[in-house]
Each structure stands twice: as structure tokens, then as C-alpha cells.
């Protein structure tokens, strides 16, 4: 498997990252060659379905966010209009 520039550019697009694919290609290729070692592990075993069979769940109840916390979160909005977070239109001038 080759992580060539074209593939890296495609992956960067998927990850919403802009990067100089050619510069990253050498390091990524050597890392990929290293991790591909696991392909040589022939012993088959089932991968688990979930990360752990932990049953520690809480009742599904809505609780209000504490007012101070709410204020703190709103203060972080990069762009605001009154009390609301402002973003560019999803269906606005498109990709």
C-alpha cells in the first residue's frame, strides 16, 4: 500500500485539513510500512464488538446545564449575535 500524494490529498480533504501532501508523504509512507507489520500476524481472532462490556450507565434524564457553565461556553463562541452562536450558512455559497 502506498500513501502517495494523491491519496494523502484525498484523506486531507476527508479530514478537512489543508496540508502540503508531498512534504508529508515520506514520513507517512515509512510509518505505514511499519504498522503494516500486523498483516503478518496470521493468528485469527475475533475483534470485540464494543470497547468494553462496561455496564455503568446513568438514567437517561435531561438535566440543565448550570447557568455559569452556559455563560462560559457562550463566551467562547468565535462569532456571536446577541446570545446566539453565528456560523456561515450550511446551504449558503457552497463548496
Amino acid at each position: 500500500m502506498r500513501l502517495n500524494t494523491a491519496l494523502i490529498e484525498h484523506l486531507a480533504q476527508l479530514a478537512r485539513l489543508k496540508l502540503p501532501a508531498a512534504e508529508f508523504s515520506r514520513d507517512l509512507e515509512s510509518i505505514l510500512r511499519y504498522v503494516e507489520k500486523i498483516q503478518s500476524l496470521k493468528r485469527a481472532t475475533a475483534a470485540p464488538d464494543a470497547t468494553s462490556a462496561n455496564e455503568f450507565l446513568r438514567t437517561d434524564l435531561t438535566t440543565d446545564c448550570p447557568p455559569q457553565e452556559k455563560q462560559n461556553i457562550k463566551r467562547l463562541f468565535p462569532e456571536k449575535e446577541e446570545d446566539l452562536m453565528k456560523v456561515k450558512g450550511v446551504f449558503g455559497n457552497q463548496l
Binding site: 500500500m1 500513501l3 491519496l7 494523502i8 484523506l11 486531507a12 476527508l14 479530514a15 478537512r16 485539513l17 489543508k18 496540508l19 508529508f24 514520513d27 507517512l28 515509512s30 510509518i31 505505514l32 511499519y34 504498522v35 503494516e36 507489520k37 500486523i38 498483516q39 500476524l41 493468528r43 485469527a44 481472532t45 475475533a46 475483534a47 470485540p48 470497547t51 468494553s52 462496561n54 455503568f56 450507565l57 446513568r58 457553565e69 462560559n72 461556553i73 463566551r75 467562547l76 463562541f77 468565535p78 462569532e79 452562536m85 456560523v87 456561515k88 450558512g89 450550511v90 449558503g92 455559497n93 457552497q94 463548496l95
Partner: protein, 447 residues
């Protein structure tokens, strides 16, 4: 007092031999004097620490009930949210981010009365083994300023090693508490996965991350661990951990396994010599030493470098310039432009590398051969440990293959840097606890 341990500090405070203000002042002055050349801290919470110290002195004066860590100076790794304080995960993308709430572990320590002196430096988003990937400059090893303190909890390890605080919190996903602890000559504990709530820890790899203490003695690390452990309704992956037993360990009843795969090529000769000396000491003290095997050790790091980046690529998707953090918006740009511009400018090279790797491992056409295969490998590694623990009580290995390396030595070859974690990652993959203990020295550096 800055060389003192937690119990000594507690003693002098309760006996009123020193006021909390004097104590905190002492630590703050030492940091101001010496951290310029070490750079363990990204920010000192000086004013707040002094005000809190004043309140503690009031409490003591009035004879009020004191918390278990009342007035204790501690430090927090920069990926632990502490309400009202900057928290940047060592990244530019969170340069001005102020934590809206505190992590559970932080809250627990605060409720016990501790005073956080500041937030410590780390590799960006915990990605690194040297703290050289911090967007805010590296931390130096207090034992040798030309060398790295290890990573990603390099700042916390350096802060403890330099006596800036008796203990600090770090996080460990592939060795990030234990390896810097080893490089700086401190204790570092990675608890069992699920022992400590990850609520409020800026996530790297959610199935592997754990918060843990760095300290100068095991009993201090234990004290901190006992305060921060516990099930938390805000983290469904937390498990109930029984309290540690009070009885002293009888070494004659302990079987220590030495996995042969950890003592091969790649392990620096002087490190091996130091570890073997310890093994001999343990044997002379009565422990049974058994050679054991974790046959799939060589597959652990490759599997880790597929599972962890996969989770990273998902966890770091939230940094998109929309709700918080660096947000680059051009007048004529659209929504997607914000994502691309903010992430490109905000993330360092290592972060981008791992996001790409993870995106690759999870993408259609590659998922089975890479991510799924890595998860199967993880199961095999877990089985290696299960089998070993049928015959021994614990395993002893080197923490890192070398002692602290020089700044700049490995930063240009990511793969060489990744190999620093070759002995630590298996434990994270298996969800097991592990403790790094100082084991002498190699070429004058801690092992």
C-alpha cells in the same frame, strides 16, 4: 520546603510550623527563579494560588476541618480542564480557550483542598514522547537541560523532578506519564483503564487515555490516585476500583515475571544493566523471578499506531473553528473554508500526520486490513498478558529503551520518536495499570 513530600507538607501545615501562604510563596518563588530555563509551566496561577493559600490559613486558624490535601501545591497537565482557566492541550488551536468546567479528577483534587500552581507543558494533543511537539516550545529535562524530559506529560514530570510541586497530574495513552517519569527520575502511574474518570480530559484516544499522578514516591502517587479514582456518571467507561490494601507486601510471596521480549536489541546497554541490577535486588530480597513471554510484543506499537490515530481523527474533528478555539473566517469564504483554514493553521505537523493516518485506517477500502486488523491484534496482546498473569503476580520491564535523549535528536524522524514508546504501549492496549519507578541511572541520567 520545596523538596518536601506531601506528608511532610501536610504535617508542617497542620502543626502550624509554616503558614500556607509561606509554603505557596516558597514554591512560587522557586518556579519564578528556575522555570525560565526548564519551561515546565505554560502558565502560573500566581494570584489565585496566593489567595487560596490565605483562605487555607484562615481555615487552619479557625480550627476548621481540613481536606486531605488542604493547601497542597499541585500542577495540572495542559489537557485537563480547570474551570475558568486557559487550557490549550499544548496547541495553537486552543490558544485562548478557557475551560467552562473542571475535569472530574481536577474537581476531586480541588475538593480535597489542593492549590493548583499552574498548567504544565505537553506535546500538542498528547502526541509525542519528548514535549518537543508543544506549540509553545519544549520543556527541558531538569536533570540535564540539553535533553528532553520525555512526553507527552513532560511539563508535569519536569515540574515534579525540579521540586516545583510535590506531585502533578498527567495523562497516559501510550506511555505519556510513565516515559517522562522515567526520563526525569520520578514516579509515574498509569491507572487501570476506567479507574479515573476522563470527563474533562481533552480526549486523544478515548479507549486508551487515562489520567494519573507523577510524584517522587509511590505513597504520594497512591494518595493522589485514591482521591481521583472512582466511578463517575459523566464517564460511562469508569470502573469501580477496590481500595488498596493496608498490609505491607511480603516480597517472598511475590512472583515477578520478566518478559524476554523487552530485553532484546533496541534496549540501551546501560539501561539494561540498571534494570538487571534491580531484578537482582528483588531476587535477593526474596521475590521469585520468572522469565516469561509476551510473544506478540512486536505487534503492539504497530497496532497502537493504527488504533490511536483512528480515534484521534475522530476526537479532533471537533476542532473546526465553529464553537470555540481558533477560528479563521474570511469575508467571502463559506462554512467549509472555516474548517480548512482553522485546522490548517491551528494544528501542528504531528497532529496532522496522525489525523491523516487515522483517517486512512478508518476509510472505506482500508478499514478491514488496517483498523480492524489492529483491533484483532489488540485482543491477541491482551491474551498474552492474561496468560502471563496466570503464572506471575506482576511484570517488570524497562519503561523506555533509552535514557533521556537530546533535544532535537529524534524530532525529524517521527518513526524513531514513536519507538520511544515500544515498552509502554502494550499496557494501554490491554487496559492494564503500570507504574514507572526510578531504577538507578544510565550515563548519569535517570532510568
Amino acid at each position: 520546603m520545596t523538596f518536601a513530600n506531601i506528608n511532610k507538607i501536610k504535617e508542617v501545615l497542620t502543626k502550624k510550623e509554616i503558614s500556607c501562604q509561606e509554603l505557596i510563596s516558597g514554591f512560587l518563588n522557586k518556579i519564578k527563579l528556575e522555570d525560565g530555563k526548564i519551561h515546565a509551566f505554560l502558565e502560573i496561577f500566581e494570584q489565585e494560588a496566593r489567595e487560596k493559600a490565605k483562605k487555607v490559613d484562615e481555615k487552619i486558624r479557625k480550627g476548621e476541618k481540613l481536606g486531605e490535601l488542604e493547601g497542597m501545591p499541585l500542577a495540572l497537565k495542559d489537557n485537563l480542564l480547570y474551570a475558568g482557566h486557559f487550557c490549550s492541550a499544548g496547541s495553537k488551536i486552543l490558544r485562548n480557550y478557557v475551560a467552562p468546567y473542571s475535569a472530574t479528577a481536577v474537581r476531586q483534587l480541588e475538593e480535597a483542598g489542593s492549590i493548583f500552581l499552574g498548567r504544565t507543558n505537553m506535546d500538542e494533543f498528547a502526541m509525542g514522547s519528548s514535549t518537543e511537539n508543544s506549540a509553545y516550545g519544549p520543556t527541558k529535562n531538569p536533570r540535564d537541560l540539553s535533553r528532553v524530559p520525555g512526553g507527552s506529560s513532560g511539563g508535569s514530570a519536569a515540574a515534579v523532578a525540579a521540586d516545583f510541586v510535590p506531585a502533578a497530574l498527567g495523562s497516559d495513552t501510550g506511555g505519556s506519564i510513565r516515559q517522562p517519569a522515567a526520563f526525569c527520575g520520578t514516579i509515574g502511574l498509569k491507572p487501570t483503564y476506567g479507574a479515573v474518570s476522563r470527563f474533562g480530559l481533552i480526549a486523544m484516544s478515548s479507549s486508551l487515555d487515562q489520567i494519573g499522578p507523577l510524584a517522587k514516591s509511590v505513597s504520594e502517587a497512591e494518595l493522589i490516585f485514591n482521591i481521583i479514582k472512582g466511578q463517575d456518571l459523566k464517564d460511562a467507561t469508569t470502573k469501580k476500583i477496590p481500595d488498596t490494601k493496608e498490609e505491607k507486601i511480603n516480597l517472598k510471596k511475590i512472583k515477578i515475571g520478566i518478559p524476554k521480549e523487552y530485553f532484546g536489541p533496541g534496549l540501551e546497554k546501560e539501561v539494561e544493566t540498571a534494570i538487571k541490577k534491580i531484578i537482582l535486588q528483588l531476587e535477593e530480597a526474596g521475590a521469585e523471578i520468572k522469565e516469561t513471554s509476551l510473544p506478540h510484543t512486536e505487534y503492539a506499537l504497530p497496532a497502537y499506531y493504527l488504533i490511536m490515530p483512528a480515534e484521534v481523527s475522530s476526537n479532533l474533528a471537533r476542532f473546526d473553528g465553529i464553537r470555540y478555539g481558533l477560528s479563521l473566517r474570511e469575508k467571502n469564504g463559506n462554512l467549509e473554508d472555516i474548517y480548512f483554514a482553522s485546522r490548517a493553521a491551528g494544528f501542528g505537523a504531528e497532529v496532522k500526520r496522525r489525523i491523516i493516518l487515522g483517517t486512512f485506517a478508518l476509510s472505506a477500502g482500508y478499514f478491514d486490513a488496517y483498523y480492524k486488523k489492529a483491533r484483532e491484534t489488540q485482543e491477541i496482546i491482551k491474551q498474552d498478558f492474561s496468560r502471563a498473569f496466570q503464572k506471575v503476580d506482576c511484570l517488570l520491564t524497562p519503561t523506555a529503551p533509552t535514557a533521556a535523549f537530546k533535544l532535537g535528536e529524534k524530532i525529524y524522524d517521527p518513526l524513531t520518536m514513536y519507538l520511544s514508546d515500544i515498552f509502554t504501549v502494550s499496557v494501554n492496549l490491554a487496559g492494564l495499570p503500570a507504574l514507572s519507578l526510578p531504577a538507578g541511572s544510565a550515563r548519569g541520567l535517570p532510568v
